[in-house]
Symmetry: C2
Subunit: 142 residues, 2 copies
DNA sequence: TTTTATAATGATAACGATTATCAATATAAA
DNA sequence: TTTATATTGATAATCGTTATCATTATAAAA
């Protein structure tokens, strides 16, 4: 049973790239978080474990993880990206509260189906999609 | 019958802001474009009409136009924003070709309906949404 | 029509997240 | 081992957008 580390290793090998202690540690740290993570949090935790690790390597590795399909990058609100694991995680879209920045995850099979229909209609080959519903969450409405 | 200029003027007045020749010209130039416009195009056309007009004012005015609801700002691909008029233009979402950056506009009433249902379910007050389908367009697939 | 309070302007410096650069080092295949 | 080349960390650069600030323009009030 393949886990994320094996998948990443295979990907690197296929691309003639190399498996390094830095990449291992970054994947390790990334997986220790749940949900949406920001570079800043990853960097802090990394620094705690090994202060010699540079932030450029963190950015580079995250990009590789996205390329190999283990991670999804979101550009929600404030210009900062967030990262989310996708391996053994169901696809979903997001409700985003513009007041407290909380996100709620949801999925709707019919919306996904209609998206495909629309693409067919225009001869479009769908690779991915982004759907964000922006508003005020239950808590913030009180 | 109100047009964009009247609406903008009213908005400014409500907010105790001022109607200036620069704001008039920027709205004028903006409306002379169809579809999605980038700052760069607006700036070029502005410079042609009046080279003394500064780019800071362009950014500031676009932001006001978004605030008053006449314009929608998109952050599609490369970090650059595009602007689109919304007055007397039906709401729609976008198919975006990641190869040639062409966009196709579409609307799907049921998708919109399900979005509302999801929000109700989570006690969420929906303000706006963003839905982008990314892939390869018919032309680029050939 | 002045006066007056304050909003707007243009030039340009600053911002800030991400990328590029580069010399030193590490990896892995031969 | 050797060797080709990928990777690293430090840091400079990028670039669209904002903030700053002194000067000027607007519009309501007098
Ligand atoms: Mn999520
Ligand atoms: Mn559009
Ligand atoms: Zn909230
Ligand atoms: Zn295309």
């Amino acid at each position: 049973m393949l886990n994320e580390f094996d998948i990443f290793k295979d990907f690197l090998h296929q691309q003639k790239l190399r498996w390094t202690p830095q990449r291992k540690m970054i994947l390790d740290v990334f997986l220790s978080f749940d949900g949406h993570v920001q570079i800043e949090s990853l960097h802090e935790k990394m620094q705690a474990q090994d202060p010699s690790l540079g932030i450029a390597t963190l950015y580079r590795t995250l990009k590789l993880l996205v390329d190999c399909g283990l991670v999804e990058a979101h550009s929600f609100q404030n210009g900062r990206k967030t990262y989310e694991r996708t391996f053994h995680v169901r696809h979903h879209d997001h409700l985003i509260c513009t007041r407290c920045e909380t996100t709620i995850e949801f999925e709707h099979p019919l919306i996904e189906k209609y998206q495909l229909e629309i693409c067919e209609q225009y001869g479009f080959s769908l690779k991915s999609h982004k759907m964000e519903l922006l508003g005020i969450c239950r808590n913030c409405r009180k």
